[in-house]
Symmetry: C2
């Protein structure tokens, strides 16, 4: 609804600062675009395999072999839209009525997909005082719920946290031992800039599925192309589901993504630098406010900001910020019903807009606190 109201305001001629969209503005690698266009010019518009185009599967396998420190082959890789992989995973791991654990705050699609599949969600809230890091205790809480599946997301959207190798190894080991399916959503893996990222793909497991997305990797969300890594048996099930649901993905986008993998390290180095700079600049602005509290992200481009001191809940805050300051943010409840005291800021838009929007948000929050103080005075 924020997006629709923002559109209305824009149609009336006003300028809106968009801090609600995780839509990277960085141009995609030239290699990705050139290869995609080239494939179209060569009329690569037929069907391909449900598991994905072999060129892309092999390129992903090569990439992860290097990182995983163990052989990863085409049989460990399935291509599917990253968003769809969440439902596909839940469908194959669970039956309706089964229990799934999310560590919260959690990406909105997790909630929607769990509802779609008909699952009971057990939320394990992470401690905001530790920057929403995942602790051994959180893992124990998750396991104690005796779920069929667990979703874990490092680097995290919306908190910008990166979980430690030690805790992730513990989680994967316990899931393996107990036969719990684990989805490790590593969409933001390539944009961890101030803490080393650890991929669950490095731990052999029959129950863990790792997913990634070319959307954020190459700033091409419109390609709708992602990948899953896992045990060949799990990968076959994902491919069968892809065959049923969408048959396959376009050849040209897959060839484009494969071409990008050749320049991934150079490209993501520049994306990380850009993210880190945007986050540092926003942090400079936000820290000046006495109405906001937040952890500084170590990955990605989101701030998950506690607005509790303003006296407004997330919806009222987001609505008034949009109406009065023409700045759009995502209400915290999108990431779990408990987060009505938070909003999410995305810093991946045009940098001037991001900075101005952040200034407006901080000024708005400060004005609310000042106003609250004035309102309270007569009562004292």
């Amino acid at each position: 609804m924020v997006l629709e109201r923002a559109k209305k305001i824009e149609e009336s001629g006003a300028y809106v600062y968009h801090l609600e969209l995780g839509n990277p503005r960085q141009p995609a690698p030239r290699e990705v675009m050139d290869k995609t266009i080239d494939a179209l010019q060569q009329h690569a518009v037929g069907y391909t395999y449900s598991a994905g185009h072999p060129t892309l599967r092999q390129a992903v396998a090569r990439r992860f072999s290097k990182h995983a420190g163990r052989p990863v082959t085409e049989a460990n890789v399935a291509i599917s839209p990253a968003n769809l992989l969440i439902s596909q995973f839940l469908e194959l791991a669970c039956d309706p009525g089964d229990r799934v654990v999310f560590f919260t705050p959690a990406f909105p699609t997790y909630w929607a997909a769990a509802a779609y599949v008909g699952l009971d969600v057990v939320s394990v809230p992470l401690d905001h005082r530790s920057g929403f890091d995942l602790s051994h205790r959180d893992v124990e809480t998750a396991l104690a719920a005796n779920p069929k599946a667990i979703l874990v997301n490092s680097a995290n959207n919306p908190t910008g946290a990166v979980y430690s190798r030690e805790v992730l190894e513990h989680l994967v080991g316990e899931c393996e031992r107990r036969g719990i399916f684990l989805l490790s959503d590593e969409t933001y893996a390539e944009v961890a800039y101030s803490k080393p990222f650890f991929s669950v793909s490095r731990i052999p497991s029959r129950f863990a599925l790792v997913m990634g997305s070319f959307s954020k990797m190459f700033s091409i969300p419109g390609f709708r192309t992602g990948f899953a890594l896992g045990d060949p048996e799990l990968i076959e099930k994902i491919s069968l589901s892809t065959s049923t649901l969408i048959s396959c993905l376009p050849v040209f986008t897959q060839l484009g993504a494969a071409a990008g993998l050749g320049v991934l390290d150079t490209y993501t180095a520049s994306v990380r630098a850009r993210c880190a700079a945007a986050v540092a600049n926003c942090h400079e602005i936000l820290r000046g406010s006495n109405a906001l509290s937040y952890g500084v992200p170590v990955a990605g481009f989101y701030f998950f900001v506690d607005i509790g001191a303003t006296g407004l809940d997330d919806m009222s805050f987001a609505k008034r910020l949009l109406e009065e300051r023409h700045t759009a943010v995502t209400p915290g409840r999108s990431f779990g019903a408990a987060y009505t005291g938070f909003v999410r800021i995305a810093t991946c838009g045009r940098i001037q807009d991001v900075l101005e929007g952040t200034r407006r948000l901080a000024a708005f929050a400060d004005s609310l606190v000042a106003e609250g103080a004035r309102v309270e005075e007569p009562a004292r």
Copy 2:
């Protein structure tokens, strides 16, 4: 498995005649390709609406307003992969354990999607002596099963039948009266050449969803882009499901498809002419065989051929045809367990290949009958 074995034979250096793939060989309209490439060159790689890009939704609405004889607006149109729409429809119409009716033979994805959603399928077998046409009696049988949903597919894959306006009106009317959800799969609507096609979109209904695919319309199966038409309430539910599952489709493919709609009539006229010619030529070959029986398709590019007289079932026939004559066809059981006496031929490949493959199939079937007669003689 036919496809995999065919690949192996090709890898050994032999040539295989592919009559198993509904992968049109006709070049896509230049307008589609140019616009898609243009959009990529302009870097249209961001997110768009779950319901579809407004340009494409409006173009589809305009097209169907003209045909439906009543206003169709953007609110009546959702964009989603055609294949996915089958599961999306079943998910929103039914709960696990509910009953859905297919008129058989029926497209393989229907069976896979029903299994995915956990539905009980009631098959209503169409009469092959009437060319698998849909009759009032078939509709009554479907309704008597008291299903939550019915799938109907005219023009039909694999039979090439086009159902009459009168029977479809009866079906839609009864579904509306009884609150049964109806999916009208009109993927092959534009390739009806010898019987007028009637679209269910012409009948206002709260329960009917019409789906189409740009894959067959523009010979771009690799675009994975289709559309649904229906009551705004139904369309909103489809869009919500799209938002959950895949978030949205690429902007560039949608703009390409929209550009194609401007030249649709000219383009499909040439596709129809090509289909009709391929079908007529194959019919000339097949009629010469005394081992095969079939209805002549009035739409699309498939023959659903009764091979019962050969004494082989569909799997053995398909396997031996591939091994001995290097010709690949689809076994009938893909369209329903009852169709082990049939194979499907697709005539949309390279015409020389299609004709040679059809000749090989007819010769193989005749040789089986001749062999059978010889084997039987001593016993008389």
